[in-house]
């Protein structure tokens, strides 16, 4: 059986991509999902705040996912649950296994990769100390709490101020735990401002910027206390600044990494800055007919943007099947000063109908700043921003007219104070 499209992963990205491909006319679509239900990580995000951009209302994670699952219910999009993809290759073969159907090799005209991301762990940041029970990534603690119905701790210190950690600070507090501190290595938060306010400030949970955990002490197999130290400008602990916290649990919210093992094994070109695939303006990867979208490409701050990006990927996959695409030259988007990465990394200007969406993150906090788009010495356009921070994704639209002004030269994105 030859599918028009196989979508790998039934989280928010995969759902939006499948739905949009269907709307654009693809009829023979399969979503492969490893979990027992669609929705991905949204299923454990029972807090609200999803969908403000997309639906102009505040939904919980499961409600947001359900909007897309409902859209699919009226289609003939096929879903394989509890099914793991073991391998994808350039011939568009997808090897899957499941308890129900065993080992199958499926084939598709196009593939959308939407596997999402995973959390960085203690090992990635080398926290000294004992290795007892009671150290969880914020996301696993969220799963135990919201899906399994168990508390992983009573007295909690959170390392990292990523959004999941912030959300968990509030969630654990609501369940009766005492969250003693949120500790952030950087001089600024890694999460959204609204989460700092609603999840820490509103609950009197202190945020220690430029601090980190420098020791974890265990007693009888469980975390018993942690040492938190202030950091100097080179991020070295300042002797004498140590604070002890008597806690049974440490939650880690120290970053997310796109999950691209399948992508790499398929020989798709990767971008070390995003840890995701290099993509063109329509989210196509370096392998023709294989697209990628959502957190597997770059870590988004809001699911609303994941949906929008994935709809573009789904539409492009439909285009690929229905009309084919002529070869086209691409320009690179070059990262100027203080730009961490951009997505897409390449634009085929001849394929842009009206405008190209460009997402990026800055490397430091900016106030009253300007984003400049240039090609060589030519300033193509600029955008004003009151505030930019690494924890928040920036989004700009480059119109066809602006892109044409580049005249085939690479396009540089730069951030600076106005």
């Amino acid at each position: 059986m030859l599918y028009d499209l196989i979508v790998v992963g039934g989280g928010p990205a995969g759902l939006a991509a499948a739905n949009s491909a269907y709307q654009k006319g693809l009829k023979n679509i399969l979503i492969v999902e490893r979990d027992k239900e669609l929705g991905g990580i949204l299923n454990q995000c029972i807090h609200n705040g999803f969908g403000l951009h997309r639906f102009k209302e505040e939904l919980t994670g499961p409600e947001y996912a359900n909007r897309f699952i409902q859209m699919l219910s009226d289609t003939n999009v096929e879903v394989m649950l509890d099914t793991m993809v073991l391998e994808i290759n350039k011939e568009h073969e997808v090897h899957v296994i499941s308890a129900a159907k065993g080992y199958q090799v499926l084939k598709a005209k196009t593939i959308v990769l939407s596997m999402g991301c995973r959390e960085r762990t203690r090992g990635a940041i080398a926290i000294p100390g004992d290795r007892p029970a009671g150290i969880f990534t914020a996301g696993s603690a969220q799963r135990y709490l919201n899906m399994e119905g168990y508390m992983v701790g009573k007295r909690v210190v959170i390392l990292g101020s990523g959004d999941i950690g912030l959300i968990m600070a509030r969630r654990m507090t609501l369940e009766g735990a005492k969250v003693l501190a949120c500790v952030e290595l950087m001089p600024y938060s890694g999460g959204l401002m609204r989460n700092i306010v609603q999840c820490l400030n509103d609950w009197d949970i202190p945020l220690y910027l430029s601090h980190t955990i420098t020791n974890i002490i265990a007693k009888n197999g469980r975390v018993s206390h942690v040492t938190v130290s202030a950091l100097d400008e080179r991020r070295n602990p300042i002797l004498g600044s140590e604070m002890e916290f008597d806690c049974d649990t440490v939650l880690l919210s120290v970053g997310l990494i796109p999950e691209n093992e399948l992508t790499r094994a398929a020989g798709i070109q990767m971008d070390p800055r995003t840890s995701g695939a290099v993509v063109y303006e329509n989210m196509e990867t370096s392998v023709p007919g294989i697209f990628a979208c959502g957190n597997v490409v770059h870590v988004h701050d809001l699911v609303d943007y994941v949906s929008a990006e994935s709809e573009r990927a789904g539409a492009a996959a439909a285009d690929f099947v229905l009309s084919g695409q002529p070869e086209a030259d691409a320009v690179q988007i070059v990262n100027g000063a203080d730009i961490g990465y951009t997505v897409p990394q390449k634009i085929r200007i001849s394929r842009v109908a009206k405008f190209a969406d460009v997402f990026f993150r800055v490397r430091r906090v900016f106030k009253d700043s300007v984003i400049e788009i240039s090609a060589g010495d030519t300033l193509l356009t600029s955008f004003k921003r009151e505030h930019m921070a690494p924890g928040e994704m920036e989004h700009i639209l480059l119109t066809k007219a602006v892109l044409d002004k580049a005249q085939g030269r690479d396009i540089t994105v730069t951030a600076k104070e106005a």
């Binding site: 793991m84 065993g102 080992y103 995973r118 959390e119 990635a124 029970a133 009766g176 197999g221």
Partner: protein
């Protein structure tokens, strides 16, 4: 007090204790190997292990190397048993289905002075009977290992060195011993030993045991056990080593075990592939006072990073997935403390590196020593000496199809990083030694060994453990006693 299923089955009833032929104290790789060897004889064996699983000490946190045997001084027990253990490893691992790969090792020299050390090691290795040793020049080394430092001037190549899963080596021995009838008592700490007519009376925190012979394989506590029956002859000096385990993408840094020249603290920091497909980097060596404390330190990790980069400058430590530390049961003697310490009591003590490499040879030697003590049991006619273990990810496509057809649980991947299926987890739970913790499953099935370190699969493994063992999820442990993951159900505080 919580009682584990496996321990319960084999628990002795308090006062009236039956007489065993052999009691083995400690079930690390040495105790387990001894149990495996002795279980081939018509002997009633009891193994007393203070932790809730086997291989909980030095055996679970070390460099995971089967050394070639050029390090120990010729004529020592260490030299003989290392080379013999290395020779035995290939067939044993095949029969017992333990991941083992004879990748070979290089001792790198960074100066002419270190080249002299390399030649010295070569001579020692030849004297010890190590096969295939070669001294290589810089260009030969770089051909074999393109990522080594350009400061390397030469190396000793030992093709017989290998990499192994150390805890699975211990598990394979212990499981097979149990299949052969040995009784394993977990959570059972020896607190005292009395000599009685015809044997020994052993007191533990869980009842009393009588045995004609005792094998002391108590690792860092082997000194204490020795002193329960004999005069002190050695002192255990616990020594901690810290490590990095790197993501699979870093395994390209080394195809062989890369040592630096040994110094007074041991074999130094190595860089090596693991049988799991990762890169292992470490250890340092630090004398410590708390024999059970395996914490990492900033200084230790910095030391390891710095030394490793000397061998392979391209290692990217941002790809670290775990730090860990292990304790070596070093003694004040530069030799294994193996021998008859008292009537019918043998020590397998002071087992520092190359202890893992020597384990099966130490076990053979232990059997000889028991015979010297008078043990004259005949061998069983058909003892079990093999172990089956399905590792889904190692199967080819057709075998995968077949495995799922036979048992659909092999079609459900639980650990996505390592491709470990529910079938393998259930196999592990119902294996001869029942695990009670996530780490017990990790050591048996490999879940949580990967880059997400159990972040995704942890809750699912916990769920499967609680289902298969009929336990409340809140009883499931991360690792040793007291390491429950879940502290309460939700809504408890709110209800108040």
């Amino acid at each position: 007090m919580f009682v584990y299923a496996s321990a319960l089955i084999f628990m002795e009833s308090g006062g009236t204790s039956i007489m065993h032929d052999v009691a083995i104290i400690g079930c690390g790789v040495i105790g387990a190997a001894a149990a495996f060897e002795l279980s081939k004889y018509k002997l009633d064996i009891v193994i007393l292990e203070k932790e809730n699983d086997v291989a909980m000490g030095a055996s679970r946190a070390n460099s995971a190397i089967i050394h070639a045997g050029y390090d120990p001084k010729p004529g020592t027990l260490m030299a003989r048993l290392n080379v013999e253990g290395n020779r035995m490893a290939g067939e044993l691992c095949k029969a017992l289905n333990v991941p083992f790969n004879r990748v070979g090792s290089l001792v790198l020299a960074f100066s002419d002075a270190e080249m002299l050390t390399v030649w010295e090691l070569y001579d020692r290795g030849v004297a010890n009977g190590v096969p295939g040793l070669e001294v290589l020049m810089a260009d030969q080394v770089r051909k074999m290992e393109p990522e080594v430092s350009d400061q390397v001037v030469g190396a000793l190549y030992a093709p017989s060195a290998g990499i192994i899963s150390p805890w699975d080596y211990a598990l394979a021995f212990a499981e097979t011993a149990v299949v052969n009838g040995a009784k394993l008592c977990l959570n059972t700490r020896v607190t005292g030993i009395e000599k009685r007519d015809g044997g020994y009376h052993i007191k533990t925190n869980r009842g009393e045991y009588d045995a004609q012979y005792i094998v002391n394989a108590a690792g860092v506590e082997s000194g204490l056990v020795h002193e329960m029956v004999a005069e002190k002859t050695f002192t255990i000096m616990p020594n901690r080593g810290e490590y990095y385990l790197m993501d699979k993408c870093e395994v390209v840094r080394a195809d062989h075990v890369l040592f630096q020249c040994p110094n007074k603290d041991g074999k130094g920091v190595l860089v090596a592939p693991t049988v799991g497909g990762n890169l292992i980097v470490g250890p340092n060596a630090e004398a410590v006072s708390e024999p059970e404390r395996v914490n990492n330190t900033a200084a230790g990790m910095n030391f390891v990073r710095e030394k490793a980069l000397k061998s392979v400058p391209t290692i990217n430590f941002r790809n670290s997935i775990r730090n860990f530390a292990g304790i070596r049961a070093n003694s004040d003697k530069d030799e294994f403390q193996i021998g008859i310490a008292a009537e019918n009591f043998i020590d397998l003590a002071g087992i520092k590196s190359p202890g893992l490499s020597s384990a099966p040879a130490i076990a053979l030697y232990a059997a000889e020593l028991l015979k010297e003590c008078g043990m004259n049991a005949p061998k069983k006619e058909n003892p079990v000496t093999t172990r089956e273990k399905l590792r889904f990810r190692n199967l080819n496509d057709e075998q995968k199809r077949e495995a799922i057809r036979k048992n659909p649980l092999y079609g459900r991947v639980i650990c996505r990083c390592e491709t470990i299926t529910e079938g393998e987890i259930v196999d592990a739970i119902h294996s001869p030694i029942t695990p009670c913790s996530l780490d017990g499953i990790k050591r048996r099935a490999g879940t949580g060994m990967g880059r997400c370190q159990g972040g995704f699969c942890g809750p699912r493994v916990l769920d499967i453990l609680s289902r298969e063992l009929h336990k409340n999820p809140m009883e499931i442990l991360q690792d040793g006693e007291g390491s429950q993951l879940l502290l309460s159900e939700t809504k408890q505080e709110v209800a108040k």
